[in-house]
Symmetry: D2
Subunit: 251 residues, 4 copies
């Protein structure tokens, strides 16, 4: 039974900061956003979590294995090294989207994303080590079958990108509506989805949905573990089996 711990990271007062006193150079904003995300990825990844860039000013993470002290530490470290600060909300739920919903509310209740007085909120509960199990996290790693042959080596790079975005958008809406799952594009032709306990039939259905909706053909490797890394690494291996065996869904 999954028990996903989800953390929402939200940059405090970012919109106003980007245009005060004047709009800032776009290339600098892109650099700051990407490097902040990369730092979170290293910190959270080293504790076997996964964080996704999402909207960059709002980033979603699966943080099974991180306790409240860990959250306080990364918040402090960012405050020491960046010109912006982060607010954090963390919660668990029966489905990933339920956990995220509660995490979001914790921050929203403390104040607007553009409330200049709301800074460095840290609210929520993490799972005690004693209550963690190997079934807490289920990760599904999707990719497009032979994206290189079908798109990258054939179409111009933007039309390849449109195809992959279509596949992502269709998968993301389906998995959210049908299963309360959170889907994230992670580069290339890869989408990582954080799921509750789903079965082979659920994944086959998702793949068929995407294929008929937007004509993008995907395969998926699924893994389960006590942490996002454990589940996700198992999912990567399962995906290699899809590639080797020509199958669509592997656990």
């Amino acid at each position: 039974m999954t028990n996903t711990q989800v953390t929402l990271f939200q940059i405090d007062n970012y919109g106003p900061w980007t245009v005060t006193p004047e709009p800032r150079r776009e290339a600098d904003l892109q650099t700051l956003q990407s490097r902040l995300y990369a730092d979170l990825s290293q910190f959270i990844g080293a504790r076997d979590g996964y964080v996704f860039f999402t909207r960059f000013d709002n980033m979603i993470a699966v943080t099974n294995g991180l306790d409240r002290e860990d959250h306080a530490l990364i918040q402090e470290s960012v405050g020491n090294r960046y010109p912006v600060t982060l607010s954090l909300g963390v919660a668990t739920g029966t489905t990933p989207v339920q956990a995220l919903s509660d995490a979001t509310s914790l921050i929203q209740n403390a104040g607007s994303a553009q409330d200049e007085h709301r800074r460095e909120i840290l609210e929520g509960r993490t799972i005690d080590d004693a209550h963690r199990t190997d079934g807490d996290v289920q990760i599904a790693h999707f990719d497009v079958i032979d994206a290189t042959g079908q798109y990258t080596d054939e179409l111009n790079a933007f039309d390849s990108f449109i195809e992959i975005e279509q596949g992502y958008a269709a998968l993301m809406r389906h998995m959210r509506r049908a299963h309360g799952s959170l889907s994230f594009f992670v580069g290339g032709d890869n989408v990582i989805v954080v799921c509750p306990d789903l079965e082979r039939a659920d994944y086959l259905e998702a793949i068929e949905h995407v294929e008929s909706a937007v004509d993008v053909t995907m395969q998926v490797g699924v893994g389960t573990g006590a942490s996002a890394h454990d589940a996700g690494y198992a999912a990567k291996h399962a995906l290699e089996h899809c590639r080797a065996n020509g199958t669509r869904v592997e656990f």
Copy 2:
């Protein structure tokens, strides 16, 4: 008359590298991808260009102002500091997608993205300083009206994200089909579109299309310049006028 110079950056043999000899930790791949993108953003941005993370293993840039030596330098610098290398194709065209198409072909003709022998291609032509004009680049900076009030402070962070992705996907397809433009989500609720010479009516139409297609309400600031930074910075200022005046399109 726009004359967009577009560069495609493609990591050589990336797919195989990520799983050889074993799949690599996802958090490390995310960190590498984001920091590589951030480095390109600094290098290109300092020369008044814009680069967009796109698929991370394929990144698209507007490089008016960068010459062939500049391209060779960033390629060399990445090769010195990362465990991967980049191939680059650069071209100009009557529309941004035409330029990108030619840039893509230059790399595709040299070999597959997963051809282990294809490394550090550098092909294409840049615009001579003597032929550059203040009308070379048109940038449109879209954002969602009151995203903070409508989404960020109201919905859970993933449902906010879904709304913004819908708006992006609809805008991206429309601008590509109708105008040969390239659209990129750049964080928050912002989409930057690289356009040929478009008019107020074209932008109003695009906004109406997105609103009726996915019920997401956008506004846009448009700028023109000799470089992406010049055009984009003017677009940011125009967008501030939209916010101040409550208008939908500002030049």
Copy 3:
């Protein structure tokens, strides 16, 4: 009684790599070295350790609080994200230099720093959590009294630098010879020294030695703790007392 756990990080085959097939751009080497160090500082610092840039191709850390798995993880992460790899040796000792000596031997026994076949050594023992105490690490944080008034605002920046280097070199040799301590310049006018159990008299003597040897006047805050961060943070606070009270040594 101190029980310092010291880790030596050594880049494998770095000298040859920097000149093969041709010498690499110096600015790129500096960037790679500094960012690799920064990554180690984040990883180790998040576990309450301290790492010092030292020679950049050889970096020394106080790693009380990091176990063998932690060492393996940072080694793997670097291998995934850099064009070089690290070998690590970790040991504990009655004095910091004894621990470092053993840590160094562990790597040296496995092969030369320029042996192209020696890669990613990981040898040594870390302290079990059960055996850690609050007296394990003693850190002394020295700085030059009124460096800003005496040097930075008065001399040219290189002559200021020479004065501070003189102070560092004198302190470093004295603390090594007299107390088996390891001293590291950490920027500004600050030197952090990793010590065994020393007393006020030892520190007063060190300060007098530096003053008479090179006419550089220092003060010091000393702290003790189970980790480098615990000890070092207490030392920083003690140094603030020196500044406030005009004293030379504070615990």
Copy 4:
């Protein structure tokens, strides 16, 4: 005839910032300092300059090839992405230390390094492109002969480091006093010295001085060029000739 353009970068009000409201985690300060330096190295290096970390809160660069706009741009970019700001002074001189001296004065005249009201000074003159020559910069790249065999593979890592620091300190003082040169340790066993027009005899004398003063044996490659990169890259090649031929000084 050398005409070195030197820029001093000084972080504004850094000392107070590091302890307000409380002392900040040392590992975070080290990370910030190193990454700020790395960013300067990329920006300056891409324009064929060299920057040296020096004291980290004060960094010295050879900036032949960078104009005032370039200086303004890196200052702005840092202000957009870091929690601190930089003041810059740039000057040229008959010797490197003379240029640095003038650059330092430009900043000092505007206010103390710890004056909380002094922010983002930008003062000085750069060399017009029309006045640049291939003899503007002379760089000498020293290293310790067989440091790996003599030190790295034999002594513990701190005693190796002490030996190299001794060599550096002796060389640095000699080259400053005798030739108005600026010397910087750049990692490993390497020291890069920025010189006026010196001859073989000057370098042989410097090497003899270091050998008799501290018993550290060095060799040197010397290069000249219009920029630090041109001169420094030639110096690296010359140093390879020392290694290949067993000579002490090569041009």
